[in-house]
């Protein structure tokens, strides 16, 4: 493959790398697994890059390849409890808008999302990225109606995880 292609790929990936980091954060726990998945996604993106025609945004195209890698191709090396990473993720105390209660809620919410299965995570991920149901459905290969129904179910599931007694 030509050097130009390589250059253009590396540059675009570098600029859009937070997408991949976010997926890694959702699907792995711990730094090693995060780096591992990041690398695998990068390789898969590079392999698919010649087919990327630029008629969609690099990021849109990258979502699909990255999610497919995380859900389908990547082999998790070990499973451990899902909560470690977000405990360590703290906002700066000198943040003006710092709100202790909100911070607590966020932590619980991240934990809840972590308990979803691989497919549910993909849906939630795209929802958080503000994708519409059309794109979500197309990426996963399901119908739009079913994507919507499933998303509502996931919301219900998250509510249940957050508040198991339903108070």
């Amino acid at each position: 493959m030509s050097e130009n292609l390589e250059q253009s790929f590396v540059k675009q990936l570098q600029e859009n790398q937070n997408i991949i980091h976010k997926i890694c954060r959702l699907y792995t726990n711990g730094d090693d697994a995060h780096k591992d998945l990041f690398q695998e996604i990068t390789i898969q993106l590079w392999k698919a890059f010649p087919k990327f025609r630029g008629d969609s945004k690099f990021s849109t195209w990258a979502y699909r390849v990255a999610l497919n890698t995380a859900i389908t191709l990547y082999r998790k090396t070990k499973r451990s409890i899902y909560t470690i990473e977000f405990e360590g993720r703290q906002h700066f105390l000198n943040d003006v808008e710092y709100d202790y209660e909100e911070e607590e809620q966020l932590k619980l919410m991240y934990k809840a999302v972590y308990q979803l299965n691989d497919i549910e995570k993909a849906l939630i991920f795209m929802y958080l990225e503000d994708k519409d149901y059309h794109e979500i459905a197309e990426t996963l290969g399901i119908s739009e109606v079913n994507a919507r129904v499933k998303m509502n179910r996931i919301k219900g599931k998250l509510k249940k995880i957050l508040n198991p007694l339903g108070i």
Binding site: L13, W61, L73, M109, D118, Y127, L128, L140
Partner: protein, 210 residues
């Protein structure tokens, strides 16, 4: 859902909490080898095809037939052999075609389907070979039993005593079952490990789309 909105807001804040990977590191990454399950499935599948092809090519029936002085069977075996090669070629073509279909840019469901389809092709190939193996065993046994002079002693014994017949068939069955069992276990373990997560996720996606 209030909490979800809160999460969405926090999610979209590009707060650079991730350790940024440099361009040089990305260069290095794209030259590394993938460890994706597709690669492993491909490697194992090629080994499988090679193994079974080797077995069917290496098994030389002509010599045996000449030894027992019934070379009139040789043309039949030759036809069978060529038919077998044709089938092998068709399988290899199908396997290759399925493999190049696998693309990460397809939808998640399609990608899973394509991977499972590739796997299925190889599986059919293995079943085909097993069937051929059983078929050859039966033919081999019949030829040995009917035409091989060395079998006369056994034949006489069977004529004398029904028990010997039962034991002979029993032993043959046991060996075949044992072979099948071992192979089945081997595949379960091998692909169970590789494909378990894929199956789980595929089922989940299919459930959503009912």
């Amino acid at each position: 859902m209030k909490e979800l909105d809160l999460l969405k807001k926090d999610w979209q804040k590009d707060d650079h909490s991730f350790e940024q990977v440099s361009e040089i590191e990305i260069y290095k990454m794209i030259h590394k080898k993938s460890s994706s399950i597709v690669k492993w499935i491909l490697i194992i599948s090629i080994l499988e095809v090679l193994l079974w092809t080797c077995l069917s090519v290496c098994f030389d029936s002509d010599e045996y037939l000449e030894k027992i002085q019934h070379s009139e069977f040789i043309p039949y075996f030759e036809v069978l052999n060529y038919a077998n090669y044709a089938v092998i070629l068709v399988f290899i073509y199908l396997f290759y075609k399925n493999y190049i279909l696998i693309s990460t840019t397809a939808s998640t469901k399609q990608l899973m389907k394509d991977i499972l389809k590739t796997r299925k092709t190889v599986q059919y190939y293995v079943w085909y070979n097993l069937a051929m193996l059983v078929f050859s065993l039966i033919i081999g046994f019949i030829i040995a039993f009917v035409y091989n002079p060395e079998m006369e002693v056994l034949k006489e014994k069977i004529a004398e005593n029904n028990k010997v017949m039962a034991i002979t068939i029993g032993i043959l069955l046991l060996i075949s079952l044992l072979l099948f069992g071992l192979l089945w276990l081997f595949y379960r373990l091998l692909y169970g490990i590789l494909l378990r997560r894929l199956y789980v996720n595929y089922k989940e996606l299919k459930k959503i789309d009912l």
